[in-house]
Symmetry: C2
Subunit: 362 residues, 2 copies
DNA sequence: GTAAGCTTTGCATCCGGATGCAAGCGCTGT
DNA sequence: ACAGCGCTTGCATCCGGATGCAAAGCTTAC
């Protein structure tokens, strides 16, 4: 044991420390520290000399030590649970890039069925992350969220918890669902259905309520309101079969794009319905596959960039002012009309502006 | 500034430290430390007393401090670049769970066009990660990889770099490509094509070379070898159109499933070819969409779980023995035959065993 | 009863940087 | 020339746990 450890230690030639570098240059360790701290009290000449030597000797300040003394980890913990939905990898990638812009690294905490949530949250606290970003319409209880976020900057993305004073950022689901309903109405559809995702999630509830309400306002009939049970292709497929059996729906709104893709295939390939002539289909999110020619799915685009920017912005604000009150931010999205509701002809007329249906898709 | 900082500090009620807890219990800080260190010299009674108090007072050892003194971060840095391909989110999720099992947290480093690679790698080193796992068929130069992995446990997943002595784990691409060629041959196809992904990646090169070689061995004709240029639906779609124009191919192997999906749609919906009657299609990876009824894509399944296990295993070995020589591990996958090569009838006969085509897909 | 041998505990110090404070230095103005 | 002021620099200490070493406590054996 001790032997092995020694071997390891000797082989991993330990990196240069600030003290060592300082000694070599005949300056103090503080000087080295200051050279790497923007805005600290040091002459440009000394700083240059130190930085130059550091570059030559391949010295990099030890982030761990720095964290310890600054009591600041420069790490944002991202709690994720649904990497299966392609919307999330995209979001996370952009988010992690956004965080990097403000010098925050992303420590990922995957919470999935199968992983120990408790343990993950303990780790989250132990790592002293400066900020917690929770991206998961599911899983965490309110109490867990409170515990995980207590006393640190935190943002819930794409999720709200009513009784919890934690800042949240999401797409305006109400706007989106209404836009879909309005679109169906403008197309002259009267017998609409809704396919839910995970029933109890805030995203689903908001979309469902807003859609159902708007449908009633517009005098359309809600034929089915199907509980998909999850945000998956399979659930959408099954729901599509149900709807086809009902034979009465002329427009369906699926709670997200993956559901819609499944529904699309079931409705066209099994039920042999024509889209959009027999039935119009709309999804939500605007993931890559909505642009695939096979689907060309009308959807409500989540303002991903805006969501990321707002999230990063709120984190930064909270970091500089711990008293910042929590807020719920619903960001405006955009209805993207494609073939699945208007067919190929009208699309050109309406002026769908993508130069090619292929541009920009996965 | 100082004012604000003070406010922050006061509001974030700082967590209990080991010294504080020790003082409350009338024991030494070392005792607390030992209570939390398995196998250390402490009586069970004392340990219990400390752990009990710790639980009550909500004390958790500060991981940062622990890292500093142990010179061990318990963090694995995962360098990723292609979150767009659904194969990777799945892999990463499983990998991060596998790492958690051995007490390693995953710090993600997203390397994308647009992000500063250099900076990311510096961060990787600064955080003193114990292990580096590079999952990205692309982007990093050999020199960068060497620099990032130097002196620490490291594994390249799904990628090899010939002249570099860094351990790698990947699917056996040669086996997979040969299996596809053999399958085409067994189906009686004679005029095959290959659609490449990112040309210079090891995954692509291995698949391409093995396929081309095997095709020649079997006496089949290689009609086209198309440079997709990237692993995307669009590239596959364009390649599909090219192949259809050539009119001579009766079986295509796409370098991965996403390419295959694009090719499938182009061949069936634009070129109006029947799959598999006119043309058989195979992909690689076995991502969720291959199971979607619309595609039902024959593919070579990457042994994701085995890849994850092997990777974690190799990391652990390297951590306990720094002298472990590097190795290249190609893990055996599995040919998954679906409708896109054998059609609906034979599938039942061949005995595709999924209880329902929907099971297990996204 | 006491010395040897082992275990448990505490003390002191270290990990590598950050930072408050005071000493050092250079410049200005009289 | 010297007091006064401001900027640089270094010293000492801290961040929160880990750990080698020695002291203390307990067993066992003579």
């Amino acid at each position: 044991m001790t032997k092995a450890e020694d071997d390891v230690a000797s082989l991993r030639h330990k990196p240069l420390t600030a003290r060592e570098l300082a000694r070599l240059l005949g300056v103090s360790q503080s000087a080295v520290s200051r050279a790497f701290t923007p805005g600290s009290s040091i002459t440009p000449e000394l700083r240059q000399r130190i930085l130059k030597a550091a570059a030559e000797l391949n010295y990099h300040p030890n982030a761990i030590a720095s964290m310890l003394s600054k009591r600041r980890s420069n790490i944002a913990g991202i709690v994720v649970s649904e990497m299966q939905n392609p919307f999330y990898p995209t979001l996370i990638e952009k988010l992690s890039r956004g965080l990097q812009r403000v010098r925050l690294q992303s420590l990922m905490f995957n919470i999935t069925r199968g992983s120990n949530v408790e343990e993950q949250l303990v780790a989250l606290r132990q790592y002293n992350v400066d900020a917690v970003i929770i991206i998961s319409a599911t899983v965490l209880s309110g109490a867990s969220v409170r515990w995980a976020t207590e006393g640190r900057a935190a943002v819930l993305v794409n999720r709200t918890i009513p009784d919890l004073s934690v800042t949240s950022v999401s797409c305006d689901n109400v706007e989106g669902a209404r836009a879909i309903a309005d679109h169906f109405h403008a197309l002259g559809r009267h017998r609409v259905s809704y396919v839910a995702g995970l029933a109890h999630t805030s995203t689903n509830l908001e979309r469902q309520n807003a859609f159902v309400t708007r449908v009633a306002e517009l005098g359309m009939r809600l034929v089915h309101c199907i509980a998909g049970g999850e945000y998956s292709y399979d659930a959408g497929y099954r729901a599509g079969l149900d709807i086809a059996r009902g034979k009465d729906t002329d427009a369906v709104f699926f709670a997200n794009d993956i559901l819609a893709a499944g529904g699309f295939d079931a409705l066209t390939e099994i039920a042999k319905l024509r889209v959009p002539e027999d039935i119009a289909i709309a999804g939500f999110d605007d993931v890559a596959l909505t642009r695939w020619p096979h689907y060309s799915l009308t959807t409500f685009r989540q303002p991903v960039d805006a969501i990321v920017d707002k999230t990063v912005d709120l984190i930064m604000q909270q970091l500089s002012d711990a008293t910042l009150p929590s807020s719920h931010n619903a960001l405006s999205g955009e209805l993207i009309i494609r073939h699945s509701t208007v067919g190929k002809q009208p699309l050109e007329i309406i002026g769908e502006n993508k130069p090619s249906p292929l541009t920009n898709s996965l």
